[in-house]
Amino acid sequence: MQSMTETAQRRQTISKSSLSSIRRRENWLGWLFAAPAILGFIIFVFGPMIASLWLSMTDYKVASTPHFVGLENYRNLFNGTDAFFYKSLGVTLYYVILSVPLQIIVAFFLAILLNQKVKGLTFFRTAFYLPTIVPLIASSMVWLWLFDPDMGLLNIIMRALHLPESQWIYSETTVVPTLVLMSLWTVGGTMVIFLAGLKDIPDHYYEAIEIDGGNALHKLLYITIPLTSPTIFFNTIMGFIGGFQVFVQPYVMTQGGPNNGSLFYIFYLFREAFTFSNMGYACAIAWVLFIVIMLFTFLLFRTSQKWVYYEGEGR
């Protein structure tokens, strides 16, 4: 009893006299709690971003004073003085345009299969997801071995089936498609996200289609795809952003070759910055990437109004 009156009294004290002082305290305490994150943003994101923009307009190399050169770095990139720029942009776009739709389709297809009330769901899900856990450096080693033109398993299988052998990552023309193939191995992460989206679709939507005499294709076209379109959209954006930043595979497996056939954009940037010490120039390369990614995301957002369906939006 006594504690209850005490509590009541305390509540009254709080609500009357000290409410504004609590507010004020909470105000600076809130800032204090958020301070590490805000500082982190200033020190590790905003500051470097501005510095990078400035450096991109200088000729800065390691151990020299940077001189302001205006837009010269950008001009050298775009007017073809540095042939590697367009090459790397081309290679990366080729990879992105090939890998993202394929990854989305395969992941979506697998997720639909797993959503059919299958037995052993946990096993299948684990099997498909497991490759995404593997450190990229290690999976690069394994695939390097599998892709080996002479002794690698893939060509052994091709030989056994009397199919034409491939040079895989060792030929200028096949290196990007081969790396796309390798990327399909780690499609499980995307699949799990799709699976979660599919689980949210209520059964009675499908039942309604059945009652109207619709078949599996109708269900896919009129229920599954529209209702998972926000997930498709999310995965597409993440796929694009990830695809533009591929680095380990070219660095470890191909060194950008053969004949620059896998000169991925970040690999090219890394080489300019840390092999040739062209720090200012590399910053310009980074900013071009930033703009390209923003442009892609913007375009996707613009088109998304046409094909992404949000429930409760009522169209």
Partner: protein, 278 residues
């Protein structure tokens, strides 16, 4: 639909799933199998499915030729440091952004969120120059310290989402009993969000364990390398010696897989919940 057609559909469904999952697991099998073979067995035609005899020497070689034990320890130091930093600072920040009222809170949060759009390449070089001017290149500071400053906006975002679902009445009850924000945070919010914190911890572990570019940029001394960099060094020394290379790869893969197997239920639910893929 007739029952026999339905049955055929089920058979086809399982056939595709089984073949698909075997394809996914196959590289693992090939990794393990090759890691236990000497060169003669590796290059035998047609290839053998099971090593005969099992060669364990491949697993000793990395430790003899390169300080793999040291790399293991180095990697662990970075992982543990990053974990502590990330978990401490992301939970505190998420608490502030979800359960404290302060002027400008939501605007500040929106600004922080924009950094998720920024490719790491943009900040990479100035950040490198910054650490260089502090004389901290070739130390673990550039790899660990940033984790203590917010622990990643994405993690804050996830935790904030989670904290916002917890009822406000809990906080009020603590205030009435004379507690403060620190009490709410440690006694109520943290215990209630254990599963969310676990997911973030797991992904932080895996991402740091797998990180290649960070150590590549910041570490020069061989004695400071991580396993990922060590493996890449090893590749240069043992071109085409696949048995040894696979053994060294397996040494890096195993801890990640072990962790995954132990926590896989949380992990997969976590990905489904959040959309992170690791």
């Amino acid at each position: 639909m007739t029952t026999s057609a339905f049955r055929w559909q089920r058979v086809l469904l399982y056939a595709v799933l089984i073949i698909g999952s075997l394809l996914c697991l196959f590289p693992f099998y090939w990794l393990v199998r090759s890691s236990m073979m000497d060169l003669a067995q590796i290059f035998e035609m047609p290839p053998k499915w099971i090593p005969e005899p099992f060669v364990w020497r491949n697993f000793i070689e990395p430790f003899e030729q390169l300080p793999f034990g040291r790399y293991f320890l180095n990697t662990l130091i970075i992982v543990v440091g990053t974990l502590i930093g990330t978990l401490l600072s992301s939970t505190i920040a998420a608490y502030s952004f979800s359960r404290m009222k302060w002027v400008g809170r939501d605007k500040v949060f929106a600004i922080l969120l924009t950094s998720m759009m920024l490719p790491f390449a943009v900040t990479l070089i100035p950040t490198f120059i910054g650490w260089q001017s502090l004389g901290l290149i070739n130390s673990y500071a550039p790899l660990i310290v940033p984790a203590f400053f917010g622990g990643g906006v994405f993690n804050i975002f996830l935790l904030r989402q989670f904290y916002m679902t917890l009822p406000r009445e809990l906080d009020e009850a603590v205030f009435v009993d004379g507690g403060n924000h620190f009490t709410i945070f440690t006694r109520i919010i943290l215990p209630l969000s254990r599963s969310a914190v676990l997911v973030i911890g797991l992904f932080t572990f895996l991402n740091t364990w797998n990180d290649f570019m960070g150590p590549l940029v910041y570490l020069n001394d061989e004695s400071k390398f991580t396993l990922a960099i060590g493996l890449q060094q090893f590749q240069g020394m043992y071109t085409a010696q696949w048995g040894v290379l696979m053994a060294a790869s397996l040494i890096i893969v195993l801890p990640a897989i072990l962790l995954f197997v132990i926590f896989q239920r949380y992990l997969i639910e976590g990905i489904a919940l959040t959309g992170i893929k690791g």
